[in-house]
Symmetry: C2
DNA sequence: ATTAAATATGAGCTATTACTCGTATTTTGA
DNA sequence: TCAAAATACGAGTAATAGCTCATATTTAAT
């Protein structure tokens, strides 16, 4: 039962070109999702757009869902790392400045490719059970929890619930903005800032 | 071009039994979506669960999407009507009482069948372009806009943006609660209340 | 050089599933 | 009572799309 069967779940790039292939596939998947939606989002279309054969695609991804999961995960990781960087970069600064730094990251992420962000957001809900994705979510969560805790604020509903709500408020306003096709990043930021600060019991200056 | 062709887009129940059939189909669709998710959500499964032949199903719905759209629309209309009733029922009461009445409706709607609510929420995003659905959204929107306007409050970002944000905050927290499987309706209400009131510049008592 | 492993290819298989259509049954109206 | 309309039926069709596999090519190791 433990001998060397067919490599099974696949995806073990060893050489450099295979890493390029994997990358091309994910990039193509994102472009199709962004430009054609779920309609055109087929494995054959992804392979074609990536300039790769369908066989190669299935050499690195066991099935279509795995491609989507990898795409969503990569996006979540990118956001988390940017948040981490912002948090590190504003070390020592007062709470409000740190919060703004985080908001800037979230809004930049949303505004960079709004349509793709919306599609990924939808897929993210569908794949919410994925352990790897949950891990990244929890990491981002922990980051915000830490910020709130070290702020010394007296939180309205305890640390955990407040963290959940701050997340929900930020994502709720962001997603809605995405759905409505809003383009004013600064205005969006001001509104989210207001919502979060007032939730936390701070007078938005 | 205007003669009596095949009835075309279908759905014209005339007798009583056909209305029952249509109802059974929508009920079955909801049950499947709730219990099996998109996996088991096939037209044949819906028909079987409804105790109706697949042929009958397609006599009243031109395609699968139309079933989903009808389901989502019915849900949105039900929520809107409940909001309307709550608004009417609290006529003359102070703003805070009216707001609470509306929140009660939203939370009751969310808590009634949380899993179904989550699935419908996801489909709602996909069908956001549907004119009939947009109309109901706009109606609910108008209702909240009206409340805010007649509250006499000085809104942080103008009537339109504030309405959008209040919606986003409420739905954001609700959806997140649904995803996390929260069951405490009262706690949920308190948090949403706090978020909305503080956003509006009111001290949550 | 030679061999083995890694990678690439794409025609085609297969399973799923949305949907049709010819027919049977029930209801309505006169 | 008896047509005609409305409704119900479900086996079968057709098309899509996920995925396999036998084969070819490239890279790495000795």
């Amino acid at each position: 039962m433990s001998s060397a069967e067919t490599p099974a779940p696949r995806k073990r790039p060893v050489q450099a070109r295979s890493a390029l292939t994997v990358d091309a596939i994910l990039t193509a998947a994102a472009h199709i999702l962004e430009g054609e939606g779920m309609e055109g989002y087929t494995t054959n279309a992804i392979a074609a757009r990536a300039g790769v054969s369908i066989g190669s695609l299935y050499q690195y991804f066991p099935n279509k869902e795995a491609i989507t999961a990898a795409l969503v995960l990569a996006d979540a990781e990118r956001l988390y790392e940017a948040l981490q960087a912002a948090s590190d970069g504003s070390a020592g600064a007062p709470f409000l400045a740190r919060l703004e730094a985080l908001l800037d990251v979230v809004i930049a992420h949303q505004m960079e490719r709004p349509v793709l962000a919306r599609m990924i957001d939808m897929e993210e809900r569908r794949l919410a059970h994925d352990p790897a994705l949950q891990a990244v979510h929890e990491a981002g969560f922990a980051l915000v929890r830490q910020e709130l805790q070290s702020s010394g604020l007296s939180l309205p509903f305890g640390l955990e619930a407040s963290t959940v709500d701050v997340f929900a408020i930020v994502l709720g306003i962001c997603d809605t903005a995405g759905e409505r096709g809003e383009t004013d990043g600064d205005g969006l930021k001001a509104r989210i800032r207001h919502a979060v600060l007032s939730y936390l019991g701070l007078r938005p200056s």
